[in-house]
């Protein structure tokens, strides 16, 4: 194995000391002199209504109020808070049906908590008190909480651009018959000995990152609009804000503050348009908004819930002859990335197993619910819940071991990936499954749990998954990186990649140091301001280490090449014959023919002229490495999760006992960071399986937008976790690395459902799997 200096080590994370002392600066912690405070006034009376009248006059007279805003007082231009539109060509945008259907403030309320007015005051409290004096009359409209209701004949149309409230379906001609897949599924089913088929519901899960949404904007005297935000995608937000306010990008500056968690909720914009519009209306004054926690469930995008139907046919020997599936998701009130999850949910089906034929259809429908967008996994957890349960149902009927079936039928190196035409270049799923099964003692437990009696029943389940590293070829992949070598041969690496806490800045720094051959402490980063670095899409699609890492490697190689070329000139040697060790460059085999990196770097910065000759003493020019990087692959990671749990058949309660999260990582650049992603992903995946769902009254009001009522798994709810990390370097990833950001969340969903199936021989088809649903299913089973 290659010896690395820093790659493969759990280096201490860059910003961690600032975080344990609380000194890391989040947006809410910034108080610029003269700051005014904004409040977005939201509709909490209705989930679907027209504003008939809005009277702000009393609010305007309240003490401390600087200005009040109705929708027409700010730009009424339509926009789309997601940034998918910046990542596809215009043709593709048309084909995907991307639309702009949001306004900063609206007179047409499409979900509980839609924004109808804004107040700017000298204090938060003054803005809050003034908001109570707003008089508003509504004309209520029928409320639609699922696709079946909103698509019915005669339903109120959310936007004239999308007839029947259908936001999206897989478009012809890219997807003949509006389906993705291969072969003839109908013919395939004719060969089947058994068919498994069911209707499922997947829930509206919320990222619930710990930092509530806070933003600051300032439109200064020079006409520069600055916005402080914890967006995951500063360089994609910059052109969106510029477009919305008709400004050149040179007059829009996005300052990324420390991101207090994202998980997709900050993919694109949340209240950036609002705070920027208010700042432009009140030039010269910094405007700040602190969104209360309970608003986060209403304003930032959630996971797409929906109805998922799937049917699979198998021969007696387990051969999967065909799969037919349809995912109809509930979009919420606005389009956002309406095409994304409807497509990817099928992509994850197509990427996982060697079905004889596959036909997947995906559709999105508007509903009167808060918006849906990106959430860690992006359609994959929904698919995992459905696909992996039906695979286990078939294995049960055919008496085949679920681990063995998956080893035999998962896609492998050379097979088409989640997007046709990009075959897998690496896959260690067999090893992950074998090691995972060993770690949880799979065979013995399956045997033992097959013969249980009594109130408490144990179960052990498995699920596998494939994800992606970046979103090519469907979406743009591009990161720019520059590496500047200081005169003392230390490096400043500049990029706009986001660290949402996952540790990407730390791992990218390790990649830079390893590539340059410099000690880690000699590499510093320049990050956080949209003006300081070149383009980067932002953090999504588990791309940052993979694509950002590729860009950092390429830029560092460029700097190193320049360094070695100068050394070659000075040593009168061929650059290919040189080596760098401890920042000394020497000719291979002749350790005495050497020059230090600092001598070259210093000579570049200080090319003093020789007074006698007039020529410089050294090779002039500060070394600057550069890359504008587009990856050639998306190197999907594979994962297998094993969950063991106990079901109390009298109460329906589930106790998680143990989980093994296995992952085909390619290479762990920083093992502690990888473990952190898997363990954190597990908390969200297990929560999706068991407890997390946003609930609505029939009137569309959200019932549980608080941490007490939106139940996430706490420290005592979590099982014992074992990570199985398999390193099988991928030919395309930086140092062989593949992604891990989203992957840890996915398979725990299916594995939990399958463990319950193993325990009580019942499959629950609706997420989350609550004690009530378990008891109901047990009662129905006994009644039959």
């Amino acid at each position: 194995m290659t010896e690395f200096r820093t790659v493969g080590k759990s280096e201490i994370k860059i910003d961690v000391k600032a975080k344990v002392t609380g000194r890391a600066v989040y947006a809410a912690d910034i108080n610029l002199p003269g700051t005014l405070h904004a409040k977005i006034v939201r509709c909490y009376e209705h989930a679907h209504a027209k504003v008939k009248s809005l009277d702000l006059s009393e609010a305007a007279k309240m003490p401390g109020v600087v200005k009040v805003f109705a929708p027409e007082d700010l730009t009424t231009k339509f926009y789309n808070q997601s940034v998918i539109d910046t990542m596809v060509s215009e043709d593709m945008r048309g084909m995907l049906g991307d639309i702009e259907d949001q306004k900063i403030l609206t007179d047409y309320v499409k979900h509980y908590g839609d924004g109808i007015a804004a107040i700017v005051a000298t204090t938060e409290e003054a803005a809050e008190r003034a908001s109570e004096r707003i008089k508003v009359e509504y004309e209520p409209l029928p409320v639609y909480l699922n696709a079946a209701e909103s698509s019915q004949q005669g339903a109120v149309q959310f936007t004239p651009q999308k007839p029947h409230n259908m936001a999206f379906k897989l478009p012809e001609p890219a997807f003949p018959n509006n389906a993705l897949g291969w072969g003839d599924a109908d013919e395939g089913f004719k060969e089947a000995d058994i068919i498994v088929e069911d209707n499922f519901y997947t829930s509206k899960q919320k990222q619930a990152q710990m930092e509530p949404n806070s933003y600051i904007a300032l439109y200064d005297d020079d006409g520069l609009l600055s916005c402080w935000t914890s967006t995951q995608m500063p360089k994609s937000v910059q052109p969106k804000i510029a477009k919305l306010f008709n400004l050149p990008m040179s007059r829009v500056r996005i300052k990324q503050t420390v991101v207090g968690g994202g998980f997709g909720a900050r993919l694109g914009m949340v209240l950036e348009p609002h705070i920027c519009a208010l700042a432009m209306a009140l030039p010269g004054r910094p405007i700040k908004v602190q969104s209360p926690r309970e608003e986060d469930w209403l304003t930032s995008p959630s996971r797409h819930p929906g109805d998922y139907w799937m049917k699979m046919g198998f021969k007696k020997d387990g051969t999967p002859v065909a799969c037919d599936a349809k995912f109809v998701n509930y979009k919420g009130g606005y389009y956002l990335d309406g095409s994304g999850v409807a497509f990817t949910a099928g992509g994850w089906v197509s990427g996982l197993y060697k079905f004889g034929a596959l036909r997947y259809k995906g559709e999105s429908y508007f509903t009167n619910q808060p918006v849906c967008g990106a959430y860690r996994g992006y359609g994959n957890p929904q698919t995992n819940f459905v696909l992996e349960q039906l695979v286990d149902r078939a294995c049960h009927e055919l008496n085949i071991d679920p681990v063995e079936w998956r080893k035999k039928w998962h896609k492998d190196v050379g097979d088409d990936g989640w997007c046709a035409g990009i075959p897998y270049a690496s896959c260690a799923l067999d090893e992950v499954l074998d090691e995972g099964a060993k770690a949880i003692d799979w065979k013995a437990k399956r045997e033992r749990y097959a013969k249980q009696t009594g109130v408490k029943r144990r179960g052990v389940g498995v699920a596998v998954m494939v994800h992606t590293s970046g979103a090519m070829p469907m979406l743009l992949e591009h990161t720019v990186c520059t590496v500047r070598l200081n005169e003392d041969a230390t490096a400043v690496v500049a990029f706009a990649c986001s660290d949402m806490g996952q540790g990407s800045h730390t791992t990218l720094r390790q990649i830079a140091a390893e590539t340059l051959g410099f000690p880690l402490e000699d590499v510093s980063l320049s990050v956080g301001d949209s003006n300081d670095a070149g383009y980067d899409i932002g953090a999504h699609a588990s791309r940052t280490l993979y694509v950002g890492g590729g860009a950092v490697m390429a830029a560092c190689k460029d700097a190193l090449k320049q360094l070695l070329e100068r050394a070659a000139t000075m040593l009168e040697a061929n650059p290919d014959d040189l080596e760098i060790e401890d920042k000394q460059i020497f000719v291979k085999g002749s350790p005495n023919r050497k020059v230090s990196a600092s001598e070259i770097c210093s000579g570049g910065v200080y090319p003093f002229l020789n007074p006698q000759t007039g020529a410089p003493d050294s090779i002039p020019g500060q070394i600057l490495g550069y890359s504008s990087f587009n990856p050639m692959h998306n190197s999907p990671p594979f994962g297998a999760c094993f969950v063991e749990l106990e079901v109390d058949t009298e109460t329906g309660e589930i106790k998680l006992i143990e989980m093994v999260n296995g992952h085909d990582i390619g290479r762990a650049i920083n093992p502690a960071v990888v473990e952190g992603q898997l363990e954190g992903g597990a908390q969200q995946g297990l929560g999706m399986a068991l407890t997390e769902e946003l609930y609505f009254g029939t009137d569309g009001k959200v019932l549980n937008n608080t941490f007490t009522d939106y139940k996430m798994l706490g420290p005592s709810d979590m099982p014992k976790i074992t990570n199985v990390i398999i390193e099988n370097p991928d030919p395309h990833g930086p140092f062989g690395a593949k992604s891990v950001g989203e992957a840890g969340l996915v398979a725990p969903v299916g594995a939990t459902a399958n463990a319950i199936y193993n325990a009580i021989v019942i499959q629950i088809t609706e997420l989350p799997i609550t004690p009530e649903k378990i008891l109901k299913a047990l009662n129905e089973k006994h009644a039959n």
């Binding site: 000391k17 000194r23 930092e211 473990e675 908390q683 706490g714």
Partner: protein
């Protein structure tokens, strides 16, 4: 609204502040004293991001505590756990070494909550740590590395005391 004069000792320094009676300790720390290391996470005592240590013994949610009731008390925030020469508290050190921090927003509260546990129970079991941390939400780590960091911190404190 009648204002109150109170005296708060924060991280060793005494502050005389004049406050409205409806202001919480969190409001006063962040807005009046300009100490943003204590975080607003929910404002309703559900998440623990605003946890502070009172009189070096008891941990509380500063978002649920009216500042006026804290007159004369000594408050420690996450920044105050660090000594003047920059040395971290053993709990902070353990969080750093054990990679128990991701986005960091829950971290100041999580660190102080852990300090509160170790003051009561210097050698807690894993179950005791998990139960004690129930009021503090972390959405990044799955709690695994936080729990092991608290165990590590307990050992560090025991070593320093021996």
């Amino acid at each position: 609204m009648k204002k109150h004069n109170i005296s708060l000792q924060v991280n060793g320094a005494v502050h005389e502040v004049t406050i409205q009676p409806n202001k919480t300790l969190l409001d006063v720390l962040r807005d009046e004293l300009n100490m943003p290391e204590t975080k607003y996470g929910c404002g309703t005592g559900e998440c623990g991001a605003c946890t502070v240590l009172v009189d070096d013994q008891k941990v509380i949610n500063s978002c649920l505590t009216l500042a006026a009731t804290m007159d004369g008390k000594s408050i420690t925030t996450a920044a105050g756990l660090q000594t003047a020469d920059g040395t971290l508290h053993p709990v902070q050190e353990a969080f750093v070494e054990n990679a128990a921090v991701q986005c960091g927003y829950c971290t100041p509260g999580m660190v102080l909550k852990s300090v509160g546990l170790l003051k009561k129970n210097p050698n807690p079991s894993e179950d005791e740590i998990r139960e004690w941390l129930e009021g503090n939400i972390c959405r990044c780590t799955g709690y695994e590395k936080i729990v092991t960091a608290v165990q590590l911190a307990g050992k560090k404190i025991a070593q320093a005391d021996s």
